[in-house]
């Protein structure tokens, strides 16, 4: 397969509507999530959300369903380890702006069987076609006081770096491709599972449910999913970020106090 870098995202993107849209006459897909809010509390160790939906397909043409879930975008920095004089050293970090923090696809068949390369790339469906914004032209800038940070396209190495982003994310279960993750439970009724690992970022997630016929997208349904910290987890996180200095002092006082209490308790016994 010839790998070419995916095109830059279109300049103006129309915000997707929250309803299902029929791009042709009657063929339509509708979907919903069992839980549109994932609460991250102290017992959170990942979550599994069920997405279910229905396909209205009066014709005879078979239809394929593809579910794409994107997490909040977060810049990611990568280094490459190279061997110099027998020691593995880090290269200069390369910044990829706006790789999604979570990305998964689930489909009824392997994506390459459902639609052709160009179509998938145009829609940004599948990890190979994911738009990871590494700026097109080569430039180095001064960032946070560090000179010569490469924020640029990496020439012929670009694909290696891009693949590394995906591979590392897949290793932590943040990126996933499931070629038979969408299963039909009844005629026209399907379900898919979204597995969120414990390291999944918090924020707004967007799910797209595509319906393909003859390699063309015929309908799409858009859903949103919120992952947020709740309860004590949220309080601690907010406190640590809003009043970091007070938080630090309290941590130290707590530690000192526990050390003191410990030595008191044990001296008596």
């Amino acid at each position: 397969m010839i790998q070419i870098p995916p095109p830059p995202p279109p300049a103006v993107e129309i915000p997707p509507p929250e309803r299902s849209v029929g791009t042709q006459d009657e063929v339509r897909v509708a979907a919903a999530l069992t839980d549109a809010r994932v609460r991250v509390d102290s017992s959170f160790s990942g979550a599994s959300i069920v997405l279910y939906g229905a396909v209205f397909n009066p014709g005879d043409t078979p239809a394929d369903v593809v579910v794409v879930v994107r997490g909040p975008e977060a810049p990611i920095r990568l280094v490459q380890k190279t061997r110099t004089f027998g020691i593995w050293l880090n290269s200069r970090p390369v910044l990829f702006e706006g790789a999604p923090g979570f990305y998964m696809t689930a489909s009824t068949r392997p994506l390459s069987d459902i639609a052709n390369f160009g179509e998938l790339r145009r829609l940004g469906v599948g990890v190979d076609h994911l738009r990871i914004a590494a700026p097109e032209e080569r430039r180095t800038v001064t960032r946070y006081g560090v000179r010569d940070v490469v924020v640029s396209r990496l020439g012929e190495d670009y694909l290696d770096w891009r693949r590394a982003v995906i591979r590392l994310k897949e290793a932590t279960a943040l990126y996933d491709t499931d070629p038979d993750g969408v299963s039909f439970v009844d005629r026209g009724l399907f379900r898919a599972e979204i597995e969120l690992p414990a390291v999944a970022p918090t924020g707004q997630y967007f799910a797209e449910v595509w319906l393909f016929q003859d390699g063309r997208p015929v309908s799409v349904s858009n859903l949103t999913l919120t992952v947020e910290k709740v309860g004590i987890e949220r309080d601690i996180y907010e406190f640590a970020h809003r009043r970091p200095w007070t938080y630090g002092v309290l941590c130290v006082l707590l530690a000192g106090l526990m050390g003191y209490v410990g030595s008191r308790v044990f001296r008596r016994s």
Binding site: F44, P75, W88, P93, W245, C251, G259
Partner: protein, 308 residues
């Protein structure tokens, strides 16, 4: 049994964190050191981001050192004047160290510097301790008197200005060496997440040549202040201190440290030093190995983007 850590943003098996705290606390009570050099690598191995591991375990060091200082102070084993001066240097060092660490993270070289520091410092100190204590053990086994200690103090230490008396330590020296030693340990404390006892104690014994009875207590006192400052700075500048993580660690640590301290009287001093030297050396080699072993993936995520 898993608990989600709010700052580290990972889910871990909490009883093993308490156990880890207890084991490291036990080692720290046994040998009179902070034990941070042991804990940081294990936390990273458990999947906690290195920056959070380094910053959060500092408060474990504060807790175990506090209970240590309380018991040593009761026996007059803490030189508060010398410890205070070293802590002053430590504060400056910690301040510089936290900034240096930020800069290294942005360069993507933080893990490299951490690995090199572990290899160099732990490797060197571990080797020295092991060699010195094995010689002492060998001499005792053969019934020979222990090798005579070189009691001369290095001359350059005494030519320096700003002399001060430290009666508890039996010293009359310039304030520059303790200040510099404190600053150096402060930098290490920020970068390696260690208290620095494994460097301070030999340096105080063999370079400053202070009274042996005051060494451990004074180094613990200086470590409390330096690591306390480091913790506040890491929380304030980098938001990498996870209070849930550090509380779990220090619950185990406080208990473990007490048992370790009780047991420490049962062993001979040189055997203790040999065991500690071996542990230090092994950790140093283990951390340094990553410099020489081919990584499973040549690409790696560089931490430190969330903070601008």
């Amino acid at each position: 049994m898993d608990i989600y850590l709010p700052i580290a943003e990972v889910s871990v098996h909490w009883p093993s964190l308490v156990l880890l705290g207890a084991v490291v606390g036990f080692v720290s009570g046994l040998f009179g050191i902070g034990g941070g050099f042991l804990m940081a690598p294990i936390l990273v191995f458990m999947g906690i981001p290195p920056t959070v591991a380094v910053a959060s375990q500092a408060s474990h060091v504060v807790a175990s050192s506090t209970s240590g200082v309380i018991s040593y102070a009761g026996q007059g084993g803490v030189d508060f004047r010398l410890g205070g001066i070293m802590a002053l240097g430590g504060a400056v060092g910690a301040l510089a160290g936290v900034e240096l660490f930020r800069y290294l993270r942005l360069l993507g070289q933080a893990d490299l510097v951490v690995a090199v520091s572990y290899l160099v410092f732990l490797g060197a100190i571990g080797t020295l301790m092991l060699k010195e204590s094995l010689t002492a053990i060998l001499h005792r086994k053969q019934g020979r008197p222990p090798p005579r200690k070189d009691r001369r103090r290095p001359l350059w230490l005494y030519g320096l200005p700003f002399k001060m008396r430290f009666p508890r330590s039996g010293l009359y020296i310039s304030v520059i060496p303790p200040l510099a030693l404190g600053a150096f340990v402060g930098v290490l404390s920020a970068i390696m997440g260690v208290g620095g006892g494994f460097i301070l104690i030999p340096a105080m014994l063999y370079i400053l040549r202070m009274k042996a009875g005051a060494v451990v207590g004074t180094s613990l006192f200086q470590i409390i202040i330096t690591t306390a400052i480091t913790t506040v700075l890491q929380a304030g500048r980098n938001q990498t201190v996870d209070v849930v993580l550090s509380t779990l660690l220090l619950v185990g640590g406080v208990v473990g440290a007490q048992y370790g301290a009780r047991l420490s009287g049962r062993f001979r001093a040189e055997e203790m030093r040999a065991a500690l030297g071996l542990i230090v050396l092994l950790v140093g080699i283990q951390m340094g190995l990553e410099l020489f072993v081919r990584p499973s993936d040549p690409f790696e995520v560089a931490p430190g983007i969330a903070d601008g």
